[in-house]
Symmetry: D2
Subunit: 398 residues, 4 copies
């Protein structure tokens, strides 16, 4: 494997998912923890040119002033998912990374996210200026850390559904000509993606926000020779849906209704308590059922912010189905997982596999990463096992 | 498709699974119900030479005197899974089938099953005599109904674990020479399998009982040019295990413990309340986890007979797993299904697919049917999706 | 006990609760079923002057044209809660009762309820005219059936929250002078209550609608010498809350959050799918927790109409509480009950106990019936056991 | 309140319940935690002469060599129920208490418990010698700490069901004459109770073991003027049963079956994995249902040791009941609680209330403490609310 350094640049770098990812990389590099939850550590992927844990340099954008180390300490004291000794051993690493974080971008992020911003976030007048700042921050990170590859991962809170962008041009050439228009309907997540690509970085959108999911930005990725993928990490309830729905389909059982209630109390949840932000998330959690089943059962997805739960997301799903002779039967499940603990290893798997893809010369969207996403860009297959087979097939080819 | 008649011969023909299967065939033949729950009705299987619902003739062995129609009526009045109008429309069919049922065989069936026998069941002195009676019953069924193919399906209650049969010969020639030995350790389920094969019938073992799972009987199947498969239909909780365990494996999550509690109140449950009968069932419900995960989490499977539930089996599973950074998380599910409604379509799929295999010239064990079984004979793969892919691959070849 | 006839007049007489209550009375009068679910059949209440099942005459108001017998038959074919033989034996009773039903009143019932009205419902111009029609219908029912006592029970769908009625007068004398004002903010449920009282009938409000819960109507009840009580029958999830919350309080456990999700698919559910109607219901399901606990945990109540569930209401509650040393713990429950089967016996208990109270000379509100209601009029006690003790204490006094 | 010191002597002093109780007392005395989970801190009990947290001295018997501080640290690192800062602040207190612990007594404790004993536990030849050692240890504790009152609380693991003791005498005079007989069927829990009483201490049996539940020992309590009570603290699943069963009874619902599955992984659980120890526990968890309901539904209680759960006990209960018209419905609950966190405040409440009772001159059994026990000695009432009313009534009298 290459010994060169590899960069991870996190959008939303002090959030739960980011801080858990950071503690995880540090703990893995120091060999304090086992690689549990990391798909890329399975035997069928070891032959790939994956970066090793000691090779990573980490930076990011953030809109909140709070210290990274303080956010990370909540994993020990609040969600109680990380052992105090592991956290202590990583304190210095966290301080060093905190020094590399830069103020983020607010642009059509919605009122709820804007209210969270208490760092001194510059407010550029045009998309072009914001993109330029992002690009500069990344270039500086690359030169100061000597990273050959940098993967930018968006793990920020969910934006409201993107404004109507049907009038946007399909090519980068045309789009870039319009970047001085302050009314251009591009949200912050897309500006980050463009900035990353212009800096020669790959881009992973772990959120349901728009990000790189626009023809003109996909065009940019190809021109720049970088990889990108999204959207919305598949961590818990939706993972379960993509595992269970194929069972019903293959057994030819008739799913009449599928109700999913999600409760949790972290910052992402507070942002989702804003109906406009929630809308994007619910859509991302819901669409796959009809795509797997081939028909449209009645579905309901609720997401409620319940403060006492903190980062512990509990999902209760009630699946009502008909079997032979029309008999109605029921499956219920309760999933109790720590949101950031579920998300962080996917973030790290995505970074490692994206780097491996780059090293093997891939450019553009990476459909073989579909199994990591609720709404995989450009991929129709939603069944988890078949998405995982895409990953295996890709790995076997290498 | 061929217009010839096809026979289904059910061992345990008045039990819940059998009577539901019988009502189902009648209702499908009369086009009273949709083919929900039938895998073989999916588009990817329609090109196979599957028998149609109107082509079936049904018979079977049974040890209880109760009228078939009475057992079937409980689907309407007790488990309330079948509509009264459907049942009424099938009354005459049921009466005709009841007239074709023959007394079963009791041989190392265990005390609990023997106590259930209130029909006038002949007690042959030797395995050979019992086998001969089974063979004769099947020959008579074939000649009286004009069936070209007959598939014998064992849906009787679970026998105690088979006696030590390590001393039994590996070939049919040797085994058949010993059939007059009344101490030969062959349970009834195996005698049925032998009788079926000697009559030229295929044999499906839907139970965890020994059945055809012996080298000498597999040898007989090949000699007779018939197909066979087993064991133990995968209907509910174990289906869920074979769907969920691969998810944990693929995400590299560490399953620490998997506890499954099953409660139900039908006749099969009463038989399983006998610890020796239960032992065979628990083993069949438990082994697959370690095989899928590649390590052995602590597991616990309980099966309790709770009379009030009747045929409604409720399973509660509690899965305790570690994710990234060692954080412990939990998945619980509650499965509430009607046991015989879940089993019956699998029985019918197995019959149809076995007939199709025969028509295409297959002989011996049918590993492509693995997805239907908790303990598929001769198949190591336990993940449901990969087993289903075996079925698809076989169908694509045809 | 008196041998005179006793009348039950149901508002919403063809709905699920009403039709189940009607089938229940018929089946009890014919001794086809056991008195399961009826509080008033317990030994501690047998000395009260309760009417017997054979004594009842039944009538009611309704806004839908559908035949009562058809609605009742769905208990057999859809919710599958009533045995076909019981239903058959009551067919003639149902037809006779259907002939006694009269078109209901629509007045500030909300658009969703008004859309359901397909019977030829007269639309009076003023509250007074509507009340007068109700009174006449009841008087005719009394004279034609010879009932000495009639209890009017509102089991109709939930109205939107009442309009602001703070300007309404506190006495009946003043209110009745305004009844020609077509802008008077009185919903149909209150007109029914007034009409009932003017006809000398007792009134039970089994819904969260306003009904008799107004000072001027309470004044009318006293003037007319009749009894009344409400609101909102306590059947399932809220019953559980009023049983479990006192446990947490008495053990001094700190309930941090209590989330309750309710899904069901009957007509009441469809009405509650209208946010304005839902608002009244949610309030009624939610307030008691803070009243029992003495502080206000974060709560969430959702009610979703899921068609496939029909009358089977499933509630999932997640209770997050802190115990000793601040440790967070969780209780979850899933309640799967048939809504009308849970409600109907409460309706019948309320009728019987109200008649007994009348026979013993009670007038006005009946606080001893608090245990039957989510929001008992004039009663602060919300703990089920203490409410039940009020009922016992009242019975012991008689 | 008196300023004198009050002693708590714990049998099984290094177990989970004891170490949590000890940390709790220290943290309460240092005002590090709120009194959550403590019944005796409610307003209706403040007028009682309850000892304050700073007044307590703690000692105990134990059979294992492990350091108390190490056991207590697992509350921070394993069950993650206690904050690290709270634990750190109590370290010195724990060391001081550890120095006061004395080797316990093994006598008919069963093989599983005996195997745990790795401290240098003396093995007296006769019950009298063992009792004498217990008495001496307590006298020394009293004199060294200057405690006026000492309450001995048995929180050790469950013994096998007591041997047949029907031949034992009913009076203390007779029993004490036989104490040199080494075949006397008295288990360790009873020897502790006798030793405590002979030392003038009150005795609380928080376990299902026999303890003081013998006529001759009750006789001794009266002679010595001490108080005692038991058996088996009501912490989780059984608390739920005693809260929910009265609801079914009062609504006249017919409980057909009640299945309870308990899984947990602490030391108590490992002892209960021995079928003979489990038997006593299951009986104590099961009997109350029939006593509350007045009839005997089918019940099933399972307790399984699942290592990964540690001290987190998860109970799944499935209650199948019939309502009106015979319709079958279901309530399920999942209780996820930390066993020792649930038990410890009850232990401390019991100590405080027992001291208050002593200070008010009570002698013998204390039935007003029934709400704290699964099998309250001498009390038939099993409904939690009515037991709690006994506590309130007693407090009001004081």
């Amino acid at each position: 494997m290459s010994e060169s350094r590899v960069g991870i640049w996190l959008i939303g770098a002090k959030g739960g998912v980011a801080s858990t990812s950071i503690v995880g990389v540090c703990a893995l590099a120091r060999q304090l923890i086992e690689p549990i939850g990391l798909t890329s550590h399975q035997p069928q992927f070891t032959h790939l040119p994956l970066p090793q844990w000691g090779q990573f340099a980490i930076g990011g954008h953030e809109i909140r002033r709070v210290a990274l180390i303080e956010e990370a300490s909540r994993l020990v004291t609040e969600s109680r998912t990380v052992e105090a000794s592991v956290f202590q051993a990583c304190r210095e690493d966290l301080a060093a990374i905190d020094a590399r974080l830069r103020p983020g971008v607010l642009f059509r992020s919605g009122g709820t996210i804007e209210e969270l911003a208490d760092w001194d976030v510059p407010r550029e007048a045009t998309p072009r200026a914001a993109i330029e700042r992002i690009r500069r921050d990344l270039a500086e990170f690359q030169s100061s850390t000597g990273c050959e590859e940098v993967v930018v991962v968006n793990v920020a809170s969910t934006e409201p559904p993107p404004p109507d962008n049907s009038a946007l041009p399909e090519t980068w050439n045309e789009l870039q000509a319009q970047l001085d228009d302050r009314d251009l309907p591009l949200p912050a997540s897309t500006l980050y993606a463009i900035g990353a690509m212009l800096a020669g970085c790959c881009h992973i959108n772990f959120t349901p926000s728009l990000g790189s999911n626009l023809p003109a930005v996909a065009d940019l990725a190809k021109r720049q020779g970088v990889c990108h993928m999204g959207q919305d990490g598949k961590t818990g309830e939706t993972l379960m849906k993509s595992v269970l729905a194929p069972m019903f389909a293959r057994r030819n059982l008739d799913v009449m209704s599928w109700v999913g209630h999600n409760i949790f109390g972290n910052l992402d949840g507070r942002v989702l308590d804003d109906p406009s932000n929630k809308q994007a998330k619910v859509r991302s959690k819901d669409h796959l059922l009809a795509e797997i089943l081939g028909y449209r059962p009645q579905t309901h997805v609720s997401i409620e912010w319940i403060q006492s739960l903190g980062d512990w997301k509990t999902a209760w799903d009630h699946i009502h189905f008909r079997g032979f002779l029309g008999a109605a039967m029921t499956l219920q499940f309760t999933w109790q997982g720590c949101d950031s603990v579920l998300a962080a290893p996917l973030v790290l798997d995505l970074v490692r596999l994206t780097v491996a893809a780059r090293r093997r010369g891939e450019v553009g969207a990476l459909p073989f990463l579909a199994s990591f996403f609720k709404s995989p860009m450009g991929v129709e297959e939603q069944a988890f096992d078949l998405q995982y087979r895409m990953l295996q097939a890709w790995a076997e080819k290498q």
